[in-house]
């Protein structure tokens, strides 16, 4: 629960979504991530920290560099949840299909 809260909260920021979109292309360093944004490195680092704490990205240490990449499991957890939401809503609407099939035989609505 806590995991999903922080994940969706982390996504509620356009810059962080853009960072994730960039990382979907592959691993990137802070410098590489900062360049498309008119934003200071510390500001980007702050966003990265939020994403990391939410379990959406992973940091790797390579000498003095710390490249980030997407955390597959974290992304999948959200994906799975949205899928479940989708399924539950769809179930309601499948039921509505049946209700409509039942009412359809009644008087049709007037034509436009």
């Amino acid at each position: 629960m806590e995991g999903l809260d922080t994940k969706f909260a982390a996504l509620a920021d356009p810059t962080r979504r853009a960072i994730l979109a960039r990382l979907s292309l592959g691993e990137a360093t802070v410098n590489e991530l900062a360049s498309p944004f008119e934003m200071s490195q510390p500001a980007i680092s702050q966003h990265l920290k939020v994403l990391e704490e939410a379990g959406l990205i992973i940091c790797r240490v390579e000498g003095t560099k710390r490249p980030r990449r997407l955390a597959k499991e974290g992304i999948e957890a959200m994906d799975q949840w949205l899928g479940m939401l989708h399924t539950a809503l769809e179930k309601n609407y499948d039921r509505l299909d049946s209700v409509l099939a039942g009412t359809n035989t009644q008087k049709k609505g007037k034509k436009r």
Partner: protein
Amino acid sequence: MSKMTLKTEGDTHVIVTRRFAATPEAVYRAHTDPKLLQKWLLGPEGWSMPVCINDAKPGGKFRYEWTNGKGAGFHITGEYLEVNPFSRIVHVERMFLPEPTPDNHVETTFERDGEGTLMTIRMTLPDEKTRATMLASGMEHGMEASYVRLEAMI
């Protein structure tokens, strides 16, 4: 195959679309007639809506109560802002879990689409955080039960 789409838009919107093989009149009625609502707006298996009060007119209120028959339950209350029969409904709603969630502003349209109807639900939350919380903690009717199930999974 899926007839429904669910997507986020901007920072505060959630858009759901669904097609139905019935007239806009019929789909509209199924969204406003309490007897019909109780037949389909149930969420996960095993849940039912014993209380469905719905006064579909501008300024009218509604209240839906769900239960799983095992002591768990929650409810939604709301008010209608605009009601254009068979084509458009605008309402606000909040979910009690048991604390009320911030108001969700919902515009639902029913458009003729060939022989059927295209329904579009546009939800607007007060801010990014609220939408994030809603998406994370159960947004639609009956979602709380799914959420509890997911908690057990992750």
